[in-house]
Symmetry: C2
C-alpha cells in the first residue's frame, strides 16, 4: 500500500488546467510518431498534431479528459502523475482508436471541426490506423514494468472489450426495433463508462488498493459515464452545433438510442403516440427532426433526461466520496466530474 502524498507541489500542478496535457501529450506524440510512417501520419493527423499534408498543425486536439482523470486519481492514491503517465497516454490512444473506427462506422465526415481521418486517407488506411492505435495502447500498458502491470493490462483489455460490446449493441439497436432505458443504460455503461472506469481504477490498481476502493471507483466511473452521456444526448437535440462541433439532431436522424427520446417514447399520451409514429417512420427532413424534438420536449423527455443526468452525477460523487482518496485530489476529481458532464471545459 502506498502512502498518501498530498504535497502541495503535486496537487498545485494538478489543479492548474492543462497539466494532463503537458504531461501526457508528449508521450502520446512520441509513441504515435514511432509507428510505421503511413500509420504515424494518419494518427498524428487524427490527434491534431499535423494537418492533412503532414505539416505541423498545433499541440494536438482533444481535451484528454481520461488522462486528466487518471492523473488526478493517481494523486488520490498517493502516486505521482508521472507514475501513470504511460497508462494515461495509453488510455487516450485507446479512446482515439475507437473514435477513428467510429467515424468510419457512422460515416461521420467531421471530427473536432476537421475532416475525419477516413475522409482524408480513405477507409482502408483509417481501419489500419485505428487498429494500430488500439494495439499500441495495449502494448504500452503490457510493456510498462511498474507495479500492478498485470492488473492494469487486464483493466485496459476489459475496457476495450466493453466499449466494442457497447458500440455493437448501439449499432444493433439502431438497425432494429428500438431500445428501452435498461438497454440504453447497458450500452452507455459499456461504450462510455468503461474508459472512465479504467481511468479511475488504473492508479488504484498500481497502488495496490483494496477491492472496496476499486468498487467505489468503478461506481463513480459508471455513473459519471451515464450522467455525461445523457446530457450529451440532450445537447445533440437542443445544443448549439458551434459548441458541440457536430451537426444538430444526428441522434434523431439516425434513430440512435437517445435518452430524452427513449424517455418521451415511453409516455402514454397522444404526444407520445405521435412521437412513436414519427420515430418508427423514416423521415429525416429538418422539419421532421424539429417536430420530433418538440414532441420529445413536450412529453417531458428533456426534463427527465436533465433530472436523471443530475442524479447520476450525484451518485458518481457519492461513490467518489467512498474511494478513500486524498481529500484535495478527491475535490479536484469532483470538479472534473462536473466539468465533464456539463461540458464547461
Amino acid at each position: 500500500m502506498s502512502t498518501l502524498d498530498t504535497s502541495s507541489t503535486g496537487l498545485q500542478a494538478l489543479l492548474s488546467p492543462g497539466t494532463a496535457r503537458s504531461a501526457v501529450l508528449p508521450v502520446v506524440r512520441q509513441r504515435v510518431s514511432a509507428l510505421e510512417p503511413t500509420l504515424a501520419r494518419i494518427c498524428c493527423y487524427h490527434l491534431g498534431f499535423t494537418d492533412e499534408r503532414g505539416d505541423p498543425a498545433g499541440a494536438g486536439s482533444g481535451k484528454l479528459t481520461r488522462a486528466a482523470l487518471m492523473t488526478t486519481a493517481a494523486e488520490g492514491v498517493g502516486l505521482r502523475p508521472e507514475d501513470v503517465r504511460t497508462q494515461a497516454a495509453a488510455l487516450e490512444l485507446l479512446h482515439n482508436s475507437t473514435l477513428v473506427h467510429d467515424d468510419i462506422i457512422d460515416a461521420d465526415e467531421l471530427r473536432r471541426g476537421r475532416p475525419a481521418a477516413w475522409k482524408v486517407f480513405g477507409a482502408s488506411l483509417a481501419i489500419l490506423a485505428g487498429d494500430a492505435l488500439q494495439a499500441l495502447s495495449l502494448q504500452m500498458v503490457v510493456d510498462d514494468p511498474g507495479p500492478g502491470r498485470a492488473e492494469v493490462s487486464s483493466a485496459f483489455a476489459e475496457a476495450l472489450r466493453l466499449v466494442l460490446s457497447g458500440q455493437s449493441r448501439e449499432f444493433t439497436v439502431r438497425l432494429g426495433s428500438g431500445a428501452d432505458i435498461a438497454a440504453y443504460d447497458r450500452i452507455v455503461e459499456e461504450k462510455t463508462s468503461a474508459l472512465l472506469v479504467c481511468a479511475l481504477v488504473t492508479p488504484a490498481l498500481r497502488a495496490g488498493r483494496p477491492e472496496r476502493v476499486l468498487a467505489a471507483l468503478r461506481g463513480a466511473g459508471r455513473h459519471l459515464g451515464l450522467a455525461f452521456q445523457i446530457l450529451n444526448d440532450v445537447e445533440d437535440i437542443w445544443g448549439d452545433p458551434a459548441v458541440t462541433g457536430k451537426p444538430v439532431r444526428g441522434d434523431i436522424r439516425r434513430r440512435n438510442p437517445s435518452f430524452p427520446v427513449l424517455a418521451a417514447l415511453a409516455a402514454d399520451s397522444p404526444v407520445g403516440e405521435r412521437l412513436r409514429g414519427l420515430w418508427h417512420g423514416d423521415g429525416t427532413a429538418a422539419a421532421h427532426l424539429q417536430e420530433m424534438a418538440d414532441l420529445v420536449e413536450e412529453s417531458g423527455g428533456r426534463h427527465t433526461a436533465e433530472r436523471v443526468s443530475r442524479g447520476h452525477l450525484d451518485s458518481a460523487l457519492e461513490h467518489l466520496g467512498r474511494a478513500e482518496l486524498a481529500p484535495a485530489a478527491s475535490a479536484e476529481l469532483a470538479v472534473q466530474f462536473d466539468r465533464i458532464v456539463n461540458r464547461t471545459t
Copy 2:
C-alpha cells in the same frame, strides 16, 4: 527451466493431424460465443462455426496453422499442449482479426469459399467484429496467469503491431511507385512472419528458455514466413483457383508487391522493359494479366521465386535445428514447416 516431456502419449497425439484443432477450437468457439451477441454472431460466421443465418455450419474453418505450430513448439520445450491452449486459441483469434479487417480493406468478397463477413453483415459491424477479435485475443493472454505472462503478452502485442505495420506498408506500396525486394522482405517479415514467430516463441517464453533459443525460434519464424509468402505469390499467379480459394492473379490486378513480379521487374532485358511498361500502366483485363504473368515467367521471376522460397525454408529449418527443442517435436515442426510452405495440408 522445465524438464523435457517426450512421452509418447503427448507426441503421438501431436503427430496425428487435427490435434491442434481438437484442443484449440473449443476454446476459440467458447470465447467467441461469449462476446456481445451481434459480435459473437459475426465472429462465429467468419470462423465457420455458423452460416449467414447463425445456424450451425460445421466444426470451423481454417487450418489453425499457428495453433498447431505453437502446440508442437510447446512439446519441444517440455510443456504439454494444454499449457499453451489459451495462447494458441488467442493467436488464431489475432490472425482472424486481421483477416476480417483485411477483407474490408481489400474489398475481398470471398473468404474460405464463402462471402466475407463484411459482405454478409456490412463493413461497420465487420470493423467492430475485427476489433473485438483483436481485443479478445490480447485479453486472453493478458489474463492467463501462467508463467511468462508478461513476456507472452508483450510478444502478442508486438506481433500485432508488426502485422499492422506490414499491412500499412503493403497498402502504401500498392498506392505508390512500387517496391524492391528489400521492401518486400520487410513487409513479409512484418505481416506474415510476425504471427509465426509469435507461435514459435510463446512456449519458449512460458518455459523460460534463454535468449539463444528465442533468437533461433525468431529466425525460424522469420524465414518460414518469407518461404511461405513467396510461394504463395507464385500460386497467386500460376496456381489453381480451386486450390488457392482466391481469384487468380489478384496480386497483379492490384499491383500488390509480389515476389516473382519484383524479381522480373528488375530484369535488365527487353522482356523486363515490356513488363515494367505494363505493370506501371493500369490494365487489369484478363489478357493484360496473362501477358504480365507470361513476361514474369519469361524473365525468370517464377524460377527465382521458387529458388528463393526454398532457400528460406532451408534457413528456417537451420534455425529450428538450433532451438534446442526435443528431437521428436523438432522433427514434427520440420514437417509442419514444409506443409505450410508447400500448402500440402
